[in-house]
Structure formats: structure tokens, C-alpha cells
Symmetry: C2
Subunit: 365 residues, 2 copies
């Protein structure tokens, strides 16, 4: 391995971008109000609709990373005094709870132990006691590797008349995500995971019901930058109004990454992620590693592995990074020092990447 060789990014994101994506990003700049750029935005919108499996008009990319997408969803839908039911089973549910409180909304929490999915029964009970404006849940908890089943919780939320907000940062373009069919009212993602574009953008989509809720607000959204009543005038409508200077180069990269997804096909891409996960699972189990999450609830693109006591977390990860040029992710929050998070996302959900990691691990541990 030489220092010039690109690192293999098998952490929780960013994943490696396809050479065509990097090339697209280095194209000469154009203006953010140039009709040529407005076409790029239109292409991005229509491919995002496809990738999210939605017909939502308000589908675009927030000009900032996934956590700004999370904030966009919550600050636009919540007003002071509103109730929000947040399902917490890892770092990102915690983050949503924090933002809810910053909105001046009343937080109702449903917690599951880290590494488990949220039990729909808990949501049911909470909805019997409260009438929240929205229920928010992380579809793919990047801090624990849990894939949250959505069907029951979606039904409960709809029956309670609440809006459903979903964090799909890590699941988007890597496993099944059906925004319309699943009744999701607001969803946010990131560019740098299974989409394999550089980090910095957050694809989002809002149902008509969510848009109506936003239009009926009594108070201004607390963030000017994320205020959808303003941002949407730049992303849609006949007369595009300047809001902020869009990150033009990053949008070029996003467009190219989405084109690669469209060429591959969503189902093929999901299958590729699943197969890479199976390969990694077999190899890790041969090496004696155990998964944190129960089978059936595991994210294919983010594999949380229990760290055996004889392995020095920091030392092995440093060796992987510096000697083998492979990044894997450390544990986050409660799991710091206790788990590894191995990402097989987008371009890296391939047998070569799995083999490269497994042979390095065999040499080290």
C-alpha cells in the first residue's frame, strides 16, 4: 500500500466516492441562479424523488450535512408548545430530542436499549397518553447498527393523526425506503453514505400534509437558513428566488452520484449492500467476532461488532488506518471503546472492500 493510494472508508461515512463523482465536482463553477444550474437542481429533485420512492413536490437537498437536514425537518414542523414523540435508540434519536427542546416543543420520549429496535408497543402506549404533532424515529441508527422496522409504527402514527418524521441518513440508497408507501411525512438523509457523494448535503422530502402544516404555522421558523417557506422558493416554482448561494460543486457531485444510482437501479443496489453484508458477516464470524444487533434487525451498510476484551480499540483502528489505509468507525456515545462500526456503503458495498478488510484484520488480530 502506498500513501498515494486512496483510503478505503469503511466507517460510518463518508464512503468513497466514485471517480465520476469526484470528476463531476471538479467541473468549472457556474452561478447558483444560472438557468443551467436550475436544470441541475431539477434533475437532482427528480432523481431524489425516485430514490426516496416519493412523488412529494418538496424534495430537494439541504445545503448542509445530514444533521442540518434533521434540524430542517424538526424546526419547520414544530412550533413552541407543540408535542413531539421521539423514539430514541441511539445517538441520533438523542440528537432529535435535543433539537425538539430547542424548538420550545414538549418532548415525549420512547427509549429502547442501545442495540435494540424500538418496540411498536411502546409507541402505542405513548400515543394512548399523548397526542403529539409528530412522531420521529431513526430508520437506520448509525450509532448502533439497528434497522428499525417501520410498518407498525407508521400505522400507529397515522391512526393517531400525527406526522411521521424519519431519519434515513444511513439507509437511503442502501436498503428499502419507501417514503410514500410507508406514509412518511418528512425524511432526511445524507449525501456521504450509501449514495457515495461527498459529505455536505442532506436530501430531504416532505409530504403534502407536512407542507400544509408548515404553511399554517403561527410563528416564524427559528432558523432563517433552514426556513422551508424561503428555501422552497429557490428550489421550486416558475420564478426561482435567491435564498442562499447553493454549494454548486457539491450539487454537481450529488447529481452524478444519483445518476449512478439510477443506472444501477434501486433494487440492485439494495441487493448489493445485502450481499456485501453477508460476506462480511461470514468473514467476521470466522474470525470470532460477534454482532451487537440481533439478526433480522441488522443494518447491512453499518455493521456494529462487539469488541472482544483482548483487542485494543484505538491501537487496531490506528493500525488499520495507517498501515492498511482502511478506516473503520469507533463506537459512539455509550458504545465508545465497546464496539466497532464497519460501514459497507455505496461504492464500498462490494466483495473487494470486504476482502481487503478481512485480510487486514486477519493479519492484525
Amino acid at each position: 500500500m502506498t500513501a498515494d493510494q486512496a483510503k478505503l472508508l469503511l466507517g460510518p461515512g463518508p464512503s468513497n466516492a466514485h471517480p465520476q463523482v469526484l470528476e463531476a465536482m471538479s467541473a468549472p463553477l457556474i452561478g447558483h441562479m444560472d438557468p443551467e444550474f436550475l436544470e441541475v437542481m431539477a434533475d437532482i429533485k427528480s432523481m431524489l424523488q425516485n430514490a426516496f420512492q416519493t412523488e412529494n413536490h418538496l424534495t430537494f437537498a439541504v445545503s448542509a450535512p445530514g444533521s442540518a437536514g434533521m434540524e430542517t425537518c424538526l424546526v419547520n414542523l414544530l412550533e413552541p408548545g407543540d408535542e413531539a414523540l421521539i423514539c430514541v435508540h441511539g445517538v441520533f434519536g438523542n440528537r432529535m430530542s435535543d433539537i425538539v427542546e430547542r424548538c420550545g416543543a414538549k418532548l415525549i420520549r420512547v427509549d429502547a436499549p442501545w442495540g435494540k429496535a424500538i418496540d411498536p408497543e411502546q409507541v402505542k402506549q405513548a400515543l394512548e397518553q399523548h397526542q403529539p404533532k409528530l412522531v420521529a424515529i431513526v430508520h437506520a441508527e448509525t450509532s448502533t447498527g439497528v434497522l428499525q422496522p417501520m410498518a407498525e409504527i407508521s400505522k400507529l402514527t397515522k391512526d393517531a393523526g400525527a406526522l411521521l418524521v424519519v431519519d434515513a441518513v444511513t439507509s437511503f440508497c442502501g436498503t428499502e425506503l419507501r417514503v410514500d408507501e410507508w406514509g412518511i411525512d418528512a425524511v432526511y438523509s445524507g449525501s456521504q453514505k450509501c449514495l457515495s457523494a461527498p459529505p455536505g448535503l442532506s436530501p430531504v422530502s416532505f409530504s403534502e400534509r407536512a407542507v400544509t402544516t408548515i404553511l399554517k404555522r403561527n410563528s416564524k421558523v427559528q432558523s432563517w437558513f433552514l426556513d422551508l417557506s424561503l428555501v422552497s422558493n429557490y428550489w421550486q416554482g416558475a420564478k426561482r428566488a435567491y435564498h442562499h448561494t447553493a454549494p454548486v460543486s457539491s450539487m454537481f457531485a450529488l447529481k452524478q452520484a444519483l445518476q449512478l444510482v439510477m443506472e444501477e437501479g434501486l433494487e440492485n443496489r439494495y441487493a448489493r449492500h445485502w450481499e456485501a453484508h453477508q460476506l462480511l458477516k461470514a468473514g467476521l464470524e470466522d474470525l470470532g467476532f460477534e454482532f451487537l444487533v440481533e439478526e433480522g434487525f441488522r443494518l447491512p451498510m453499518l455493521n456494529a461488532i462487539k469488541l472482544p476484551s483482548h483487542i485494543n480499540d484505538q491501537e487496531v483502528r490506528s493500525k488499520l488506518l495507517n498501515h492498511y489505509r482502511i478506516e473503520i468507525g469507533a463506537g459512539l456515545g455509550d458504545f465508545a471503546g465497546k464496539v466497532w462500526r464497519i460501514g459497507l456503503m455505496g461504492e464500498n458495498a462490494r466483495p473487494q472492500a470486504v476482502d481487503q478488510l478481512l485480510s487486514a484484520l486477519k493479519e492484525i488480530v
Copy 2:
């Protein structure tokens, strides 16, 4: 001119990026917690300190465009009930006022007619009647082309015990900006103007006094994404804490763009912007155009030109863009259809760019 040739971006930004900057951006990705990336962040910080002429520890780039930098400054420094004096002489002062209200702070406005600078006497009078926590002003009003003199207003602000917040989005790296010497407590900029990096990042810097103010807050910052008590743990300190996934590629580009600024030297760069402006001024006056702003208050990098009644705004700008592949900026807000905004920023503050525009204009009008 062929369709393949890069457009010449002489609007209000983005400006054209140097080929080395575009190349840096297309380098293979690395992780946002990789020690190699933390070094990139350290390099960016130290070059930003130089470019801002400051020793402020809390100097970094917000992972979103300039308007998020504006919001970062205001939401961190203001709490509900605080008073803020905002100087408004164009679109961006208006935007600051809007954000102040979204913070739940009390807005005190000092207005100047668009195209004029703020008169320090107005600020003086306002400070005799109010005791605001901060005074905010736009150094380079991109909507009007006005360069705001800072010395008197800075002194008045300090004497009143208020914090000074400055919008340097368009002035940064293009004309004199001395953060420490001018007593600026919070400053924000953009990557895509005189720095000639792609849009999407906002360099910011905060004085010790600003940091102390933030540490003493009684309430949480309303934005999780922009909360400096969290972001600063990622950008500084021995133990870097994950906050959000930084836009790695855009940071590569920012670093390279800052290196080009350092190689050229700030004074040389300011002089280059000034000379390009002089050349443009002479040429435009030959063609019969008049400047909107009084001499002595003109921004060298953003030239606001009155539109004679015989010129069709939309038609000429479209022709410039489509036939000559030159972008210039339309009027914004009150000035829509009445002025053009010609940017000579960063890489484009050069005689060739001026000549290219002047000869195109000669042919058209």
C-alpha cells in the same frame, strides 16, 4: 466561444475557482475524524486567522454557506430578550434583522438609503437611546456595492460596551479587513467570493469576549447544528469530538484556496482587486455607465452600475451569459431591474476578465 469553455463568473459570486482548487476538491475522500483531516482543519484555521488578521482561537469554517455563517454569529450571541442594533443598508442588513427577530431578541434598526453607507452619527444616536448587546453591520453590502467605513462605528460600539458583529462575506480576501485591529467580535464570510473557493462554507471568527458571552448563556442556542459550544469541540481542543460530518471535499478546496491567498499575500491581493476595479470603472464610464455608489464608498469587487433606461436588463444579461458566457449579477430587492452588479472577485479580479466583459458589452449595447 464554445459551450465547453468555462463561464466567466462576474456576478455577486460564486467567482471562478483556480484549477488547483478544483483539483484539490476532487481528491479521494478521507474520514472527517481521520487525523489527516484534523490536520487539514488545523491548516485551514491558521490560514483563516491570517486572512482575517486575527489571533482569535475560535476561527473556523461553518459547514454551510455564508448565510449560515450570519446565523451562527447571531444565534450564538443573542438570547431571547436581548437587544440588538442592526445597521441596514441593503439586503443583508435586512436578513440580519430577520434573524434577530427569530432569536426572540429586540431589534433596533438604523437604516441608510440603499446605495449609501451607514452614517456613524445615526449609530451614535441609537446608542444614546439603547444599550444593545451587539451592533451588527455589513462591511461589504453585496446588494448595493457599498464599502462601509468601520473605524468610527467600531469605536462607538466599544464605548457603548456592545459586541461588534460584521458581515465580511464579500470583502474577505478582497479588501482590507482587520478583525483584531478593528475590534470585531464576530465576523462571517463566504468561500465563493474573493477567496474563489466553491460556495458552501462560511469562514467565521469570534473574539475572546464573544466566546465568554456564549459560555455565559442562560439558554441553549436555538440551532443544534450551529451551536458553537458543540461545534467548537470538533474544531479545537486536544480531543476532537464528533459533531457533524464535515464537508471533507469542500474543506480540501478551501485549504487550497487559502494557500493561494497566502502565496499571493493579502496586500497584493487587495491591490489586485483595486486595480481591476479601476480598469473596469474607466471602461464602463467610457461606455456611458454610471456607478450607483459615491466614489470613496465603492466596493472594488462588487461594482453596482445604474441601468440606463434604453437597456433591457434581462435581455442583455441573457445575451452575455448565453452568447459570451459571462455572468453578471442582477439587481436585488429594491434594485431589481435597476442596477447590475459586476463582480471582480478573487481569480476574476484581473485585467483579462475586465477586458472580456468590456468588449462584450461594447458589442451588445
